[in-house]
């Protein structure tokens, strides 16, 4: 600070009287509305630090604030309107129109619109044109067009645009006059390209492009995908290869002399040709589906030989398997040059001594890796387990030894951890030491040390029932509207395959047990809940004055592993204001694999979604993850605020107070522990492990189907294409349970088969249970 000299002599200050007057004007504190009297530019500056939603909500403070938000330069509009379900009410799209209508003359720096409602080209184009007039720099549209969109021509010649992100399930028509003179980031998702020329034209019209991402795009009209962008630094190509076999079958040529990061998740069938990637530093390659074995080796080697100077290479085990199919084993003569030139360390995680992995190790023995070392990390290796275990025990022992040295209370601001987290889970495994170091540096400072001898606050209460429940939120939301006494009229919907747990939970929530609708399903629909059946059930309930409340759509039912059609059901639910819960307890973990995600197409419409991490996520029972679109609904249903539980952190709205989301006042240690435990698991477990288990399970299911194919009269419950359905049934199956009502006419055949089939016997069921209804 500058030196401060006291000079209270008024005579040296000719303006003193005026100054005192001015300073009195700004005396602030008790009872004065200072914030409203701030200069306009300061208020706008404050608003710029708020989310769009918070900024718009200031309109209600007083008349002065009504239109102050209309100058915000970052507009982020996400469709959160559903759930009221009243179509006649103002829609989200009308609201977006309003935002543009009221926006003042100032620039719009970024615009994000994300909606599930169907939109027309003319409406979207009016938004785009308005944002172009306001010198838009970042445009991010994720919309569902009713028909083929025709985007305004002047979008394609916009000079202010720096970032363009489009999600659309339609063709992208590229005008011949296209020139994005300042575009640095282009991300196209689910976009179908029309032809070779216009696609190439698009890329060559971006003279300064640095980042390009093509996610699940449609290539069927292309023979060659040519990406020739000398300025490109980051390229991402992602596809759901397995399910759309042959879809991405065009030759893909990449010329990018300045490319630094390459990420490529695709089918082995794609013919990738990489040219001139001399600047590449890290590459991450995941190729799925090695069904066409001979080609696979060719493709993998082709792709890897293009990444000559790469310093860091992440490959999935499937990709490594691509080496597998060479005639002479794995000919060293064709080892990609990066292995012998630039790569220094290769980490093989989840080592299981497959032929491909052994071959890879032999590379190292032959000094093919430059000064190389191959580290084998195997979480199931007893010695590694012992080492990591000792490390943890040491850590715990040290903690208890030094417990009184820690300050009892948490030393951090609420929310401190989220800013320290990386944007995504790492693709490469990290050693346990690094993870523990982070626990020391980032977790410990945030802990309240209950075990400290200096801790004299209240004792943690025991939580009687863990977990929380969207149902209660849904119930309260509706009861607040229609009156508490109407609880007997509420109705819950599910298929007749729905797990009894849903019905039990409905009873706990106070729903009349007679008002659980188990809607019949049929084998023709693979026992999935038919949207039309749901709609007619809702209509007949409405007709007799009942109130449809809650839909439980299930992905992988317990009795038959049926999958309900999430998207169409959510549309019906939305139409009638029914809370749409998607229960993927059984199969949800599989969606970590991109190729299974189409099972939850339309999930954006759901109000809540749950999955069990203890199924395929290597987590101990029980760990159920629940996502809720509007957490406030939960809080309103379960919040209480007695004085002894009030604290600064919660009242700052910076932290989630879990007591408001569940029945107990505190979380069982296990609940927090599992959340903590899954973070190191995600980091040191390496994604291929997560990606690998579900696909391996599907492989087992396929094997089983192959085995049982010889039996003409063995009926598969679910369609052959529905791989995921079969997984939970056949994976890890030691018990065979047959419900007669599921099999109908073929039930007798099944019994016969079981009695007479040597092959089925060889599957070694421990127990076969048969239920005759």
């Amino acid at each position: 600070m500058g030196e401060r000299k006291r000079q209270r002599d008024d005579s040296v200050n000719p303006h003193s009287s005026e100054n005192i007057e001015l300073s009195e004007e700004q005396i602030v504190g008790d009872g004065n509305d200072i914030i409203s009297s701030l200069p306009g530019n300061v208020i706008h500056h404050i608003l710029s630090f708020l989310s769009t939603k918070d900024a718009i909500r200031t309109s209600i403070l007083s008349t002065k604030w009504e239109y102050l938000w209309t100058s915000i330069c970052d507009i982020d509009l996400n469709d959160t309107f559903p759930w009221t379900g009243k179509e006649e009410e103002r829609s989200f799209l009308d609201f977006v129109d309003r935002v543009f209508l009221f926006h003042d003359a100032s620039d719009i720096k970024s615009l994000t619109i994300n909606s599930l409602e169907l939109v027309t080209s003319s409406r979207v184009n009016s938004w785009i044109s308005a944002s172009l007039r306001h010198n838009i720099e970042e445009l991010n549209l994720s919309l569902r067009w009713k028909a083929q969109p025709v985007l305004p021509c002047h979008l394609f010649t916009c000079q202010s645009l720096v970032t363009l992100k489009l999600y659309m399930n339609w063709s992208l028509k590229i005008p011949s006059l296209t020139h994005f003179s300042n575009l640095k980031t282009l991300e196209l998702s689910h976009v179908t390209f029309s032809d070779d020329n216009s696609t190439q034209h698009l890329f060559s019209s971006c003279p300064v492009l640095q980042e390009l991402a093509l996610v699940k795009c449609g290539w069927k009209n292309l023979k060659t995908l040519m990406i020739c962008i000398p300025t490109l630094k980051r390229l991402t190509i992602e596809d759901e290869a397995m399910w759309i076999r042959g879809f991405l079958s065009c030759v893909t040529k990449i010329y990018a002399a300045n490319l630094i990061h390459l990420r490529c998740i695709s089918s082995l069938e794609v013919d990738f040709r990489l040219y001139d990637l001399s600047s590449l530093v890290d590459a991450s390659i995941g190729l799925y589906d090695n069904s066409s074995a001979e080609d696979a080796t060719h493709q993998v080697l082709g792709l890897l030989s293009g990444v000559v100077n790469v310093q860091k290479l992440s490959i999935t085990s499937d990709t490594l398997e691509g080496f597998h199919y060479d005639e002479d084993g794995y000919t060293l003569g064709r080892v990609p040059s990066c292995f012998s030139s630039s790569l220094k360390t290769v980490c093989i995680a989840y080592f299981s001594e497959t032929a491909a992995e052994m071959w890879f190790i032999s590379l190292e023995a032959g000094h093919d890796l430059k000064n190389g070392s191959t580290r084998v990390l195997n979480p199931l290796d007893p010695e590694e387990f012992r080492r990591q275990g000792q490390l943890i025990i040491d850590f715990l022992a040290d903690y208890y030894k030094n417990i009184e040295k820690y300050p009892v209370r948490s030393q951090v601001e609420p929310g401190y951890l989220s800013s320290r987290l990386p944007d995504s889970a790492p693709l490469d495994p990290e050693p346990i030491e690094t993870v523990m170091q982070d626990v020391e540096n980032h977790i410990i400072p945030g802990i309240t040390h209950w075990q400290s001898p200096n801790y004299f606050a209240y004792f943690p209460a025991t939580a009687s029932i863990a977990g929380f429940n969207g149902r209660n939120a849904a119930r309260d939301e509706v009861l607040n509207r229609v009156g508490r006494e109407s609880i007997v009229k509420l109705v819950i919907y599910g298929s007749d395959q729905t797990h009894s747990a849903v019905q039990k939970a409905a009873r706990i929530a106070g729903i009349n047990p007679e008002n659980f609708r188990a809607i019949p399903t049929t084998k023709d629909n693979a026992f999935g809940l038919i949207p039309d059946s749901l709609e007619s059930a809702i209509l007949s309930d409405l007709a007799v004055g009942l109130i449809p409340l809650f839909l439980c759509a299930i992905i992988g039912t317990t009795s038959s592993t049926a999958v309900d059609p999430v998207g169409p059901l959510s549309n019906v639910a939305r139409r009638y204001g029914v809370w749409d819960h998607v229960d993927a307890a059984q199969a949800g973990s599989a969606f970590i694999c991109p190729m299974f995600r189409h099972f939850i197409d339309g999930i954006e419409g759901a109000d809540s979604f749950s999955l069990n991490a203890h199924k395929w996520f290597f987590t101990n029972l029980d760990c159920c993850c629940l996502w809720v679109k509007d957490p406030n609904a939960l809080i309103k249903a379960l919040s209480t605020n007695p004085e002894f539980l009030r604290n600064k952190a919660t009242e700052s709205y910076q932290v989630v107070d879990y007591k408001d989301c569940q029945i107990g006042l505190s979380r069982r240690f296990r609940a927090s522990y599992e959340a903590l435990a899954s973070a190191p698991e995600l980091r040191s477990g390496e994604p291929p492990k997560f990606l690998g288990l579900p696909s391996a399970s599907v492989g087992l299911a396929e094997l089983w189907m192959g085995e049982s194919k010889d039996y003409n009269d063995l009926h598969s419950l679910t369609p052959v294409a529905n791989l995921l359905d079969r997984v939970p049934v056949f994976y890890n199956m030691t018990h065979l349970v047959l419900h007669s009502e599921l099999f109908g006419d073929s039930f007798g055949v099944m019994i016969d088969l079981l009695e007479n089939s040597p092959k089925l016997e060889s599957l070694n069921f421990e127990e076969v249970r048969i239920y005759m209804n």
Binding site: M1, I46, T58, L77
Partner: protein, 161 residues
């Protein structure tokens, strides 16, 4: 900025609205675009520069901020960040508003940003009734008008009482 290097030891005098004078090193004063422009436009540093909108208490805080930022080298960004977050911690609303006004008047962008951010954080995620209370904003809407504003902007009020 050339002048700041040449005359690194030069000092200038700033005078607060309530008549207190502060002797400030020139490179510290240059954190303020307002002062920088004044000095560039040949305003003699021998003169006392009056800051008629800023009281002594606020000016002392502002100069503390400028001193820290002028002296820290760019390599110490982490240290500056933690200084910034400590700087506004536990500051009462009145002082914070004086500070945001001073930063705005003196054109000190970094200080304006952290002060505005702090005020925004106070508004964030809170029901409007609570925001009104904290900032003493008088609600001059009629109940009908208020309901209409809320309805028109319903998207933003989902989940708020």
């Amino acid at each position: 900025m050339a002048s700041s290097i040449e005359n690194n030891n030069e000092k200038l005098t700033l005078k607060s609205s309530d008549g207190e004078e502060f002797l400030v090193e020139k490179h510290v004063a240059l954190q303020s675009t307002l002062l920088q422009n004044m000095l560039d436009s040949d305003c003699s540093s021998a003169d006392v520069i009056p800051l008629p909108k800023i009281d002594a208490r606020t000016l002392a805080l502002v100069l503390g901020y400028c001193k820290k930022h002028a002296d820290a080298s760019s390599s110490k960004q982490g240290e500056l960040n933690s200084f910034d977050s400590e700087f506004l911690k536990d500051m009462d609303m009145g002082a914070l508003f004086n500070l945001v006004l001073a930063a705005n008047f003196m054109e000190i962008k970094g200080l304006l940003d952290i002060a505005a951010q702090k005020i925004a954080d106070t508004i964030k995620d809170k029901p409007h009734q609570e925001v009104r209370e904290i900032f003493h904003v008088e609600n001059d809407y009629t109940p009908e008008e208020e309901a209409a504003v809320r309805e028109e902007n319903r998207w933003a009020f989902e989940g708020f009482p």
